[in-house]
Symmetry: C2
Subunit: 207 residues, 2 copies
């Protein structure tokens, strides 16, 4: 017999995973549960100009920076994406994502729908997952239950959610996060990630 040749040399490409969707669909809860399940992925730590709240740890919960530092990050193009959230800046440090991916880890980031589109424009092969509730009534109920909104604020959130929903087509996958069935949503996300690693034509992201 001749020298054995490798049948199929599979290179495991790390994925850049964006978890997005309207307010109230449970993006943070889903990501929290992924962490608790102990998956070997890098969860992005966002840089923010907001002051730390009691108990928040720099580098774990957020990377806390000054306005000047944040401005410099913008100018030096060190952020993949950034947004103003209630007068505070929040952004995703590019180098952190690069380092995690270089180590072979999948990277998970939570971004709003607008930001997800920005990531796609930078990294065409990013994996974009849209989280949603199973009905609009459910979403409205969840937003109302927060009780952190003024009636005007709530109206605005609902209107925004409706608009964002029309952008599902820009995403690769849509996962329903049904109330009281969080594990189902997390299972679906992990299945998507597993499946994507078995694609014949892998996603290749360079930042």
């Amino acid at each position: 017999m001749t020298e054995p040749e490798p049948l199929f040399e599979r290179q495991r490409q790390p994925l850049l995973i964006v978890i997005s969707g309207p307010s109230g669909v449970g993006k943070d809860t889903v990501i929290q549960r992924m962490k608790e399940r102990g998956v070997s992925m890098h969860f992005v730590v966002t840089a923010t100009t907001r002051a730390p709240r009691p108990g928040e740890v720099n580098g774990t919960d957020y990377i806390f920076v000054s306005n000047d530092q944040f401005a410099e990050m913008i100018e030096k193009n060190e952020l993949i994406e950034y947004a103003i959230v209630y007068n505070d800046y929040k952004g995703i440090p590019k180098q952190q994502v690069r380092d995690a991916m270089a180590s072979g880890k999948d990277v998970v980031m939570r971004i709003d729908v607008q930001g997800a589109a920005t990531v796609r424009s930078i990294a065409r092969d990013a994996l974009l997952i849209f989280i949603t509730t199973d009905s609009e009534e459910e979403l409205v109920a969840r937003l109302q239950a927060r009780k952190t909104e003024t009636p005007e604020g709530l109206k605005l959130r609902i209107a925004t959610a409706r608009k964002e929903l029309k952008r599902i087509v820009e995403f690769d996958y849509c996962v329903i996060n049904p109330e009281f069935h969080l594990e189902t949503a997390v299972d679906s996300i992990l299945a998507i990630i597993e499946a994507e690693h078995n694609r014949v034509k892998p996603r290749v992201v360079t930042l």
Copy 2:
């Protein structure tokens, strides 16, 4: 508030799933294990002109037909795909697949690499999964272990496997079935199926 609108009406499209790959990679074992796990899918029962072996049940193991009946199925275009295997005809009845999909079930079929390409040509949105071992040596070892081959037969199988391997690019996913880790392969296949049901642009198969 205005009348609530459906946030995202998801239609669950049944998938046409093709499990393929060279001889010796364990396609039958993988499918057997899927059945044992009790997944709610339709596993295609192949029509064959071969005589039933002791214990084989018509309609469960195979649909046993005469040469004349098989010829009629070919003429009437009632088969999705057919092939001659050791002088016997084997084919996949189209109506069986249509009925299962109409009932909303995913359909799983085991086909050789050549046949998988035929399915793709008929149903562009079929989900094509290529199963392989983690190395060529491993595949050769498995083929040798069968001991059902003459040395010439074995050589032919290996040569065929090499050629078939080059056709991975025609498939959507490639799953490694490592020896003694069958469950891993089955997990990956089920993850692919779960993920595919969450695609924003679902596969739509009409036969």
